[in-house]
Symmetry: C2
Subunit: 530 residues, 2 copies
């Protein structure tokens, strides 16, 4: 046999691919796997609630069910919209089957997360995955036990049943068993939940850890952010293959003009005619009959056409300055909080918005570098901090210009990127790539809140200096009052009362002059002097 036959070619299913390369979706070791499992299931629960205008109530528990092998049972329960029973097997048991393949801001981006949890679960222990769900409005609760047939990329259903739902409960409860490492993931899991909570002050969480500790994170507000809407693609984000995909999945028989107007943002009658003219295409040609060459010409024109409105921000859901302020205040009890939500921008046809928040002082301990809270589509990013564009921007800012001394940062910087397409560096969703447009917005957002911090610090310093000046006066006031009293008193026994009276008046004058609340300050200063 000649040497070429030594190359064995084989085809594998997408399930097999991700099972073989779990590190690509964040499952690189048992500790990371436990963390990632909490994260993916919690993100799904949140996507099933707030987007649908439901105030999230989520319960997470982790139990150790086998000591020797470190097998854990992870249960996550939400009060979301539930999953229709005919969808359940594929939604959990088929890789690349998902509700995330639309243009809308969701926490999930790749439709891989929960499937990756199952793939990993099956690798080192053999209990199947369990789902209980009741879609909103359904009068039954459905129960499934399943696994993924990895080579076929299909669900294997071990059990399915349903019972009545007299209480009208809706939501999903999932239970997954997996080999993990609690001790090495504990800190990150707590950090993850805390950071999620900061950015979802309208949610409540209960977390029971394998040591039996129960933590309750109460709802801080009932105000839900505006949910994202599903939108049509923007012409700037189009490519030849996207156009082919849209044409192949059309529900109506459109001519190319109708196709442009109905399937894209920002294209009306006039624009459609202009584009078709530029591309040299007859408007009434059926979209399904376009040749490869015609499609390529159309894409070229659409990408270069300069008169489109920017991509719609309807698909985005920011948190807003008020909720960021609430979250930061609640968790850090700082002296100052500032927040800013920027205007929508776009990169490569994807709309995005950057929000930033800052918390300073109070119970935040000074550190060598600010604490950076990174978020994308409302989920916290905890690993791979230093390869993230947010970290890069925070590092490049000259904080002294904003009144903060180097190596002395009692400072938390929060950045939230919302987009229909977050440019993660890997499918594990841990760090955001350096996209120029995004980097610029992050910088502007941080600079804007940092300016508020500077004003606050200037004011604070001014007050401190005034306090110092006051202190100096205070030292002389009693003596001065007494000297004046000696001159003014009608008799010697009136000197003391008069001195007291004059002293009080002098303090009032001085306080008014430097604009301070005298009574309060007086008390404080008295203590300091004595």
């Amino acid at each position: 046999m000649s040497s070429e036959s030594r190359e064995r070619f084989a085809s594998i299913s997408p399930a097999e691919f991700f099972k073989r390369n779990p590190e690509l979706v964040g499952f690189s070791n048992p500790a990371r796997a436990l963390y990632q499992s909490v994260r993916e299931t919690l993100e799904n629960s949140l996507d099933a609630t707030d987007i649908h205008m439901i105030l999230p109530s989520i319960k997470i528990s982790i139990d150790r069910v086998e000591i020797e092998k470190e097998v854990y049972r992870l249960t996550v329960e939400d009060n979301g919209i539930g999953i229709p029973p005919h969808i359940v097997p594929n939604a959990f048991g088929k890789v690349l089957y998902s509700s995330k393949y639309t243009i809308r801001q969701t926490r999930g981006m790749y439709g891989l997360g929960v499937k990756a949890v199952l793939l990993y679960s099956q690798m080192y222990q053999d209990r199947p995955f369990e789902v209980q769900t009741s879609p909103k409005g359904s009068n039954r609760v459905y129960y499934f036990r399943l696994k993924i047939d990895i080579s076929k990329n299909e669900p294997i259903i071990f059990h399915r049943s349903s019972i009545e739902n007299p209480t009208g409960w809706h939501g999903t409860i999932i239970t997954v068993y997996l080999v993990g490492d609690w001790l090495r993931s504990k800190q990150r899991i707590y950090e993850y939940i805390k950071r999620t909570y900061i950015l979802s002050p309208y949610a409540e969480f209960v977390f029971r850890d394998p040591e039996g500790n129960v933590t309750y994170y109460p709802r801080v507000t009932n105000k839900l952010p505006k949910p994202p809407e599903e939108v049509k693609p923007h012409p700037y984000g189009v490519d030849i293959e996207l156009l082919k995909y849209l044409i192949a999945t059309l529900r109506y028989q459109y001519d190319v003009r109708g196709f442009l107007i109905n399937e894209f943002q920002s294209i009306g009658d006039v624009t459609a005619d202009e584009i078709l003219k530029l591309a040299g295409l007859p408007p009434n040609k059926p979209a399904s009959k376009l040749t490869d060459d015609e499609i390529a010409r159309l894409v070229e024109v659409m990408k270069k056409y300069e008169k489109f409105r920017p991509p719609s921000a309807d698909a985005l859901s920011t948190l807003g300055e008020e909720l960021i302020t609430i979250g930061l205040n609640k968790v850090f009890s700082p002296e100052l909080v500032a927040a800013e939500t920027r205007k929508p921008k776009a990169y490569q046809g994807h709309p995005f918005i950057v929000e930033a928040g800052i918390a300073y002082g109070g119970s935040i301990q000074p550190a060598e570098f600010p604490t950076v809270l990174r978020y994308a589509n409302k989920i916290p990013l905890v690993y791979d901090e230093k390869s993230d564009v947010i970290w890069k921007v925070v590092e490049e800012i000259d904080w002294r210009r904003y009144g903060i001394e180097e190596n002395q940062f009692p400072l938390v910087v929060l950045v939230h990127l919302c987009s229909t397409k977050v440019p993660y560096k890997s499918a594990g969703k841990e760090s955001i790539a350096d996209v120029e447009e995004i980097e610029r917005e992050i910088k502007f957002a941080i600079m804007s809140v940092a300016r508020q911090l500077r004003l606050f610090l200037l004011e604070k310093r001014k007050q401190e200096e005034e306090k110092k000046r006051m202190l100096t006066y205070m030292k002389y006031i009693p003596e001065l009052a007494r000297s004046l009293a000696i001159f003014e008193a009608p008799s010697e026994d009136k000197v003391d009362p008069l001195a007291k009276e004059l002293e009080q008046k002098l303090i009032e004058i001085v306080s008014r002059k430097i604009g301070l609340n005298d009574a309060e300050l007086y008390k404080k200063l008295k203590v300091e002097i004595s």
Copy 2:
């Protein structure tokens, strides 16, 4: 309609998945895409040669074929083993169909690279991909033009033909058109080729860039490293789903004992019996009849059993100290080169070997930090340097202990990780994750070459000090010689010649004493003194 129906679920093909998320495989923008395309095709060419004991001759050319849209034509030609014609359409036109799905060290890891190039190529221009190939030993050359049907994940063949092959040529020539950005990728592409060349001194490359510059990288040695062999899985790397996969794809009907002995490394008769006893399984049960529970028990026993030999290093192919030395010398012309290849180790059942090399001084300019050359399975890693475990180790080493002053590094540190499974952080293959076992070996390898550097620097400093001492003597020798000559000379006119003679002798004595080549040094010092 109730709100749950707002969730639209859909299934997408693996081709569609990677087309929608090109940044996950390294195609995040036109510059990066051009770089990544060069890299993936070049890596395939190398995998088709050296592994099969062919000295690689590879030609790469990039031409700009459209000015306005920046469309480039990339052509890569190798003298490798070629691809059998019945394999060609799927090998290029079907995502997750590959020759990389075996246990053996290859540059490709995911079987995605060239397909990702095609997916990207099709997005913004519509010329198909072209392949010419002649498998080694074939008397015909085959020619194809194709694209990928992304929604079906199947090749679309536009053209296929073949001609006679009278010269016996074998290899593959691919041509792909894509929208790129040469100016922004130029530096990285040159860097990539240079670094590949350092680690493949047995290869020759010709690169023609879009500006018309042609660079020839000549072969430096005819010595090829030992090629990697395909091996069976090691029991430590096993998981339940791998076991199921192996059983499902068995070519013979084995009982479980025969299955263990024939399908794994390091399992002989005795070990097989012990494992089966520990797992409580009858040795003669057909492997295909094992229940899920039995498979789970078997995996558990295999992962815990402590008496296996470590994973075989036959599947690995290092470069070796000699070739690393040749490569570093050739490219950097340094004063010192040191190299070390460590012994095989394993992580999670995957064998690996770390090699390190160091180059110091000479034409290397001092810099604030050493130049770090990262390699994995013979390919250079150019992007995302700071999130790589190799960078981390280099950063943590206290270089002063090895005689180098901080911020003064005329130093190149090369690290090469060989493994059947490189733990990349993403499928773009740019940075290696922090795996404890690997990190430790990298540290040991660098420390070992750094010790050689320390000895060299000590010796160098000793010589410099001797030179200084010599200089001091030299200043006095003429005077001393003259004084002695005045005493010794029989007449005044003999003083000068005698002084010269004595001077020469004194230099000889001093030189001998401090072990230097006097004549040479004398000349040098004369110049320095004057």
